[in-house]
């Protein structure tokens, strides 16, 4: 009913505010994301970037403001959040794979239980997705038997199994050993190249530079700078962005 038409942005955020008790984490965010666009959210810790991301699929309920995403009015009075979330994939910092299920079941469970896809078709889908993220021969393994990088790639496959129109990434590589970061980023890069709309909270500036269409710098709960990575990352206009980027890129100075 709320299908977005051709030019309408896939994500539209207006006047978003989020308070936790006395602490106002988001203080009026306006943000549009076009279909196929890759947006990286950067900013110091506590700047509200994860909260902003979690508000998009309403894992966090906004205190104020309107959000529409993947053709669903998320903050409307009649919002069917379960239906909306089927169209919005999410990848977490700590993977959050279902620890009691095999890798294959992790990828198929939502399809089978939510979309009521027959098992055979769900499993064929899952095997194809697992191959795409480079996980093969692990279908019967438990999440704990996989490395962090492998688990995160399975988590991406799990989200993709619902055929989402939008993917949210919440610091997908922050919990990984440094040598495992690359394998996850390269999967995300391929996903972006395939035209997926992505909103990514990240500290990986090289990924943002290379893959993002737009970088949004958040600080103190407001968007301070927004633009192509070449502008925001290479020539930040504000002192706050300059300071942050300097600290991230030259941590020992």
């Amino acid at each position: 009913m709320n299908e977005s038409t051709g030019d309408a942005p896939l994500v539209r955020i207006r006047g978003l505010r989020k308070r936790f008790g006395d602490n106002e984490v988001l203080r009026g965010i306006d943000l549009d994301i076009a279909e196929g666009e890759v947006v990286c959210l950067i900013g110091p810790s506590g700047s509200g970037k994860s909260t902003l991301l979690r508000c998009v699929n309403l894992l966090e309920e906004p205190t104020e403001g309107a959000i529409a995403a993947a053709g669903h009015d998320m903050t409307g009075p009649d919002a069917d959040l379960d239906a909306a979330r089927r169209d919005i994939g999410m990848v977490f910092q700590h993977f959050n794979l279902f620890s009691h299920l095999s890798i294959l079941d992790n990828v198929t469970i939502a399809q089978r239980r939510v979309r009521k896809t027959p098992r055979a078709r769900a499993e064929a889908d899952a095997r194809r997705l697992l191959a795409e993220v480079g996980i093969e021969g692990k279908e019967r393994a438990r999440p704990a038997q996989l490395s962090g990088g492998q688990q995160q790639r399975v988590a991406i496959a799990r989200a993709l199994a619902m055929r989402p129109r939008l993917m949210l990434f919440d610091e997908p590589t922050s919990a990984l050993d440094p040598e495992l970061v690359g394998e996850v980023l390269s999967v995300m890069k391929r996903l972006a190249a395939g035209g997926m709309t992505m909103l990514v909270v990240t500290h990986e500036m090289s990924f943002a530079r290379e893959v993002a269409d737009r970088v949004v710098f958040l600080d103190g709960g407001v968007i301070v700078e927004s633009g192509p990575p070449a502008e925001v990352l290479a020539a930040p206009k504000t002192e706050r962005a300059r300071g942050f980027l300097h600290r991230v890129l030259h941590p020992v100075d």
């Binding site: 699929n57 894992l59 379960d82 239906a83 909306a84 979330r85 089927r86 919005i88 994939g89 999410m90 977490f92 700590h94 959050n96 794979l97 279902f98 620890s99 009691h100 469970i109 939502a110 239980r113 939510v114 438990r142 999440p143 704990a144 988590a155 799990r158 989200a159 619902m162």
Partner: protein, 268 residues
């Protein structure tokens, strides 16, 4: 003050000496019991093989009934306890209040009293009421009510021990609250509470000895009642020993099974 001259013991030496003393005390205690006890008399009270042999094969009926009572009561306890646990963590207030009262009442009342209530109180208040399965149904409900309160508390703790991220992942895939509970939270919660549930099963095995208050026949007798009858008729304690060993025959493998299940859970 003069400096101490004798060499002080190294910690390792001290530990070795203390260990040796403890061994010596233990050995002396065992030796004293072995020497002072009247073994002939003890054997006469507890180890009369003829009396033990006489208990068989009838004791197997009582043994089997103990198992059946325990399993029926546990099944009832799970069937009621898990939903009560879910109500206890519900977002809907009245569910939470009802579940809290239920747990307080049936955890607070002695199992014996509940059994009496189910066996005599309820039939008196509702004449014509028949428990399905006769005495088996009575026992399932009478012991199961108490058990369900404990099971509900264990399962609630298990539900709350499932990491929040698991729920967020399920919800982000479009699972409803109920679907998330059934598919993701409960399976993990039940695995977490295997140790307390095993504990509950062991307690129930022993609580089945209360069934005698309902008035049982030879066919529906459980182990304790059987052993006590034999004790009276033989005027000898051997039946208690046999009965006790048969209880251990049930509870020890149960503990071992639980440890296995727990290990399997850890490997994940």
């Amino acid at each position: 003050m003069a400096p101490r001259t004798e060499p002080r013991l190294a910690p390792r030496q001290r530990r070795r000496i203390s260990r040796a003393v403890q061994y010596a005390v233990a050995a002396a205690a065992v030796l004293a019991v072995a020497l002072l006890a009247d073994w002939g008399r003890i054997a006469d009270s507890f180890l009369r093989l003829d009396i033990a042999a006489d208990m068989f094969p009838d004791v197997w009926t009582a043994f089997w009934n103990t198992i059946v009572y325990t399993l029926f009561a546990f099944a009832f306890g799970m069937l009621v306890g898990v939903p009560v646990a879910l109500m206890r963590v519900s977002a809907f207030g009245p569910y939470r209040w009802f579940a809290a009262c239920y747990v307080e009442v049936f955890r607070g009342l002695p199992a014996l009293l509940v059994l009496f209530l189910v066996g005599f109180g309820v039939p008196q208040a509702f004449p014509g009421l028949q428990y399905p399965g006769g005495v088996y149904g009575q026992v399932a409900i009478g012991l199961g009510l108490t058990s369900s309160a404990y099971i509900a508390e264990s399962v609630r703790a298990g539900i709350q021990a499932v990491p929040k991220g698991q729920i967020e992942a399920a919800r982000s895939l479009g699972m409803s609250h109920t679907r998330t509970m059934v598919t993701v939270v409960l399976p993990q919660a039940l695995r977490i509470v295997i140790p307390p549930l095993t504990n509950e099963l062991v307690m129930l095995t022993k609580d089945s000895s209360l069934v005698f208050v309902l008035g049982v026949t030879a066919a529906t007798m459980e182990l304790s009642k059987f052993a006590r009858n034999e004790l009276t008729s033989e005027a000898n304690a051997t039946p208690l020993l046999v009965g006790g060993l048969l209880y251990l025959l049930l509870t020890v493998p149960l503990s071992m099974l639980a440890r296995r299940l727990e290990k399997r859970g850890d490997a994940r």
